[in-house]
């Protein structure tokens, strides 16, 4: 296998099935370090599954994932994940500080006590996202933008090399959006690689260096300047893929036994 140490992520022939149904289909690509990568595709195209498969949360049928040039199990501490808003229970009894401290758990392991140093690091991370005043608030008292910020703080505290973010911009106001972009670019400057599932296609050339287009299969993956083309967008979102989607959906239904045609 060709090992290149400057690669952040290398994926070979990744296929993911849910109950015999292909959700992601033979995906191969390589992304170098230090890029801000947008992942786009229509709803239900498997973007979230894609992230989960790379993180090893969803068993893949076949394929290989290399993070920073080695297999994923040993690399788990180098990866940070920002969940989708909907997967969080916002009424959970937890304060902002406690949530951010979770970013420290991988370092602490099971039994090490949380020390002053850890709390200071958490406060510093909160300071980065301008949320120090809210450290002792319960998370359901925050606005959506503020909630998103504290999750960024947790990811920051993980001090990872690769960041995977599932729609960090969902539901935030324009001020927070700007803030998040500045934050992401700050991480990129430090040499981190960021994968961001994103919906606003218009702003991709402005903010991202790389783009991945997914619609069950990988349409394209490369620099925005060369790969963010109308032709690729058409293939991802456009009419000529309708038949592909139709047959794909039909196969889902057949396998689930809910097809009535």
């Amino acid at each position: 296998m060709n090992l290149n140490l400057s690669d952040a992520l290398k994926v070979d022939h990744l296929t993911v099935n849910y109950d015999q149904i292909s959700v992601l289909w033979d995906i191969s690509f390589t992304v170098p370090k230090g890029k801000l990568v947008a992942i786009i595709g229509p709803n239900g195209a498997g973007k979230s599954t894609f992230l989960k498969a790379i993180l090893g949360l969803t068993p893949s049928l076949s394929g290989q994932v290399q993070i920073l040039g080695s297999s994923k199990k040993s690399q788990i501490k180098k990866v940070a994940y920002l969940p989708q808003r909907e997967s969080i229970d916002w009424n959970f009894p937890i304060t902002v500080e406690e949530l951010v401290l979770q970013g420290r758990y991988p370092k602490l392991g099971l039994f090490k006590r949380i020390r002053k140093r850890d709390r200071e690091a958490a406060l510093e991370a909160l300071n980065w996202v301008d949320m120090t005043d809210y450290a002792h608030r319960q998370i359901n008292q925050l606005s959506i933008g503020q909630q998103q910020r504290i999750f960024l703080a947790r990811a920051l505290l993980q001090d990872a090399d690769l960041y995977f973010m599932d729609e960090p911009f969902a539901g935030v106001d324009s001020l927070t959006e700007q803030f998040i972009f500045t934050f992401l670019k700050g991480l990129k400057k430090k040499g981190k690689t960021l994968f961001v599932i994103h919906h606003d296609i218009q702003c991709i050339p402005k903010h991202f260096d790389w783009v991945m287009m997914i619609n069950a299969r990988l349409i394209t993956c490369g620099e925005v300047s060369t790969h963010f083309t109308q032709e690729n967008l058409d293939q991802t979102f456009g009419r000529n893929t309708n038949l592909f989607e139709e047959v794909f959906n039909l196969s889902h239904k057949k396998h689930l036994g809910v097809d009535h045609s």
Binding site: K52, L55, L57, I76, V79, A80, Y81, P83, S87, I88, D89, F92, P93, I94, T95, E98, L99, Q102, Y105, P106, L108, L110, Q138, Q158
Partner: protein, 439 residues
């Protein structure tokens, strides 16, 4: 009270009950944060046929186990079976979670009743023995059972201490938990295992019908007092253990008190425990600081009181622009949208506070009242200006500013000033009064 823990007859029921209630209230927090409160109800009721079938089985000559042990095994087996069936209904039969819960509950309960009526008609003595597990009978708890309850309590407490971080992350953000290498399925399984164990051992003291209440009530109460998970465990545990003790205490004392003069009236322990914990829960919902109903009600009243004060001061300020002599209070009250009696009381309050002065039948602002009023007018006009700034029509801004003048904090005021570069005129060309320090 202390003799409940020393008396050879009372000791086992008291300590056994407290241990069981502690267990249920801690496991209850685990269920609460999973939002599966109904699960306790379903799984405990599912033990019903297990109890009855186990009682029937003891009739077989080849079964040499004592009745209690048989029943515990039967109860555990059927609770576990219900858990599996729930899983199956949700995943394979595509039932919604609440349908699956009710479906499994009634299915098992129906089965239970069928076996129970069989047992009742043919072996009524055995049926009576099995009944102890349906309604609970704390008074007859023996030493071995007490030790069993204590062991379970120790186990549950250790699991929670040991896996605290895993429990927190798994239930809060399962995908993140997996990315940092936590095996969330193991935590899930552990939770369910503890739950079935608490049901099996708990039905003896609290009874199958009421057991699920001990899973729910203490956790809800604890949530009112804290928004940190570790404190929730502590509070819930305390509330649970306290309910256990008060339940057994009141059931004994009341039974004694009402049994004078030939009549005997017995107060069962299980219901007394549930009544105690439910009372604590209702108390918490009402009186917990910050989240409780009373506290929220007081906050609303305080806010309305503040608004009325500010409105009256503001009206007086407007009158002061026309005359220095003061104004009849009725004139001011005509401008308020609240009942006259409230206006009168608030005016009286402001007078006593020294923000309103009296000159015979007329009232006017004191110097400190004037500064306050001026600040409200200032916030009102600043807000109007801001609304126009963001594109709201001039004629529409007044009404909204009437509300927001009471809301804007000094911090927001500063931001407004900065944004509009310390303006001097409002959209209606009225001057924006300068901020004066309070006297």
């Amino acid at each position: 009270m202390i003799h409940y823990f020393l008396d050879p007859i009372l000791k086992a029921p008291t300590i056994g009950c407290i241990a069981m209630c502690l267990v249920c209230s801690l496991v209850g927090v685990l269920i609460f944060i999973r939002k599966e409160s109904l699960l306790g109800e379903t799984l405990s009721h599912a033990a019903y046929p297990g109890i009855m079938l186990a009682a029937l089985l003891t009739l077989l000559p080849s079964v040499k186990l004592p009745l209690t042990l048989c029943i515990l095994i039967g109860a555990g087996l059927f609770s576990y079976l219900a858990l599996k069936l729930l899983d199956l209904s949700k995943k394979r039969l595509k039932m919604s979670p609440d349908s699956a819960l009710s479906f499994v509950l009634t299915l098992f309960f129906g089965l239970g009743i069928t076996v129970a009526s069989l047992l009742q008609n043919t072996y009524s003595l055995l049926y009576k023995q099995a009944l102890v597990f349906l309604f609970g009978q704390a008074a007859t708890i023996t030493d071995p059972y007490m030790y069993l309850s204590i062991s379970l309590a120790v186990l549950v407490v250790s699991v929670i201490l040991f896996f605290y971080r895993e429990i927190q992350i798994t239930n809060f953000d399962p995908i993140f938990a997996q990315t940092i290498g936590i095996r969330t399925q193991r935590i899930d399984r552990l939770t369910y295992l503890l739950m079935v164990a608490s049901i099996v051992i708990g039905i003896r003291s609290i009874g199958l019908f009421l057991l699920s209440g001990m899973f729910i009530a203490p956790a809800i109460a604890a949530r009112q007092w804290s928004h940190k998970l570790h404190r929730m465990f502590i509070f819930s545990g305390i509330i649970g253990a306290l309910s256990g003790f008060l339940g057994i205490y009141s059931s004994f004392e009341l039974s004694v008190a009402f049994s004078k003069g030939g009549h005997s009236l017995s107060f069962a322990t299980g219901p007394m425990i549930i009544l105690t914990s439910s009372s604590i829960t209702i108390f918490s919902l009402l009186f917990a600081p910050k989240q409780g109903w009373v506290s929220r009600f007081l906050k609303i009243v305080t806010f309305k009181f503040k608004c009325t004060q500010e409105n009256i001061l503001k009206s007086l300020w407007h009158f002061a622009q026309q005359t220095d002599l003061g104004v009849a209070p009725q004139k001011v009250w005509n401008y308020q949208s609240i009942p006259r009696i409230s206006s009168l009381l608030v005016t009286l309050y402001l007078y006593l506070k020294g923000e309103i002065l009296r000159n015979k039948s007329l009232i006017m602002l004191s110097p400190s009242g004037r500064i306050k009023a001026q600040n409200i007018v200032r916030l009102h006009r600043l807000w109007e200006l801001y609304l126009v700034h963001i594109g709201v029509g001039k004629e529409k801004v007044h009404h909204n500013a009437e509300e927001m003048e009471h809301i804007i904090t000094p911090h927001i005021e500063e931001k407004l000033l900065k944004l509009m570069k310390h303006p001097t005129k409002d959209p209606h060309n009225q001057p924006i009064p300068l901020k004066e320090p309070a006297l």
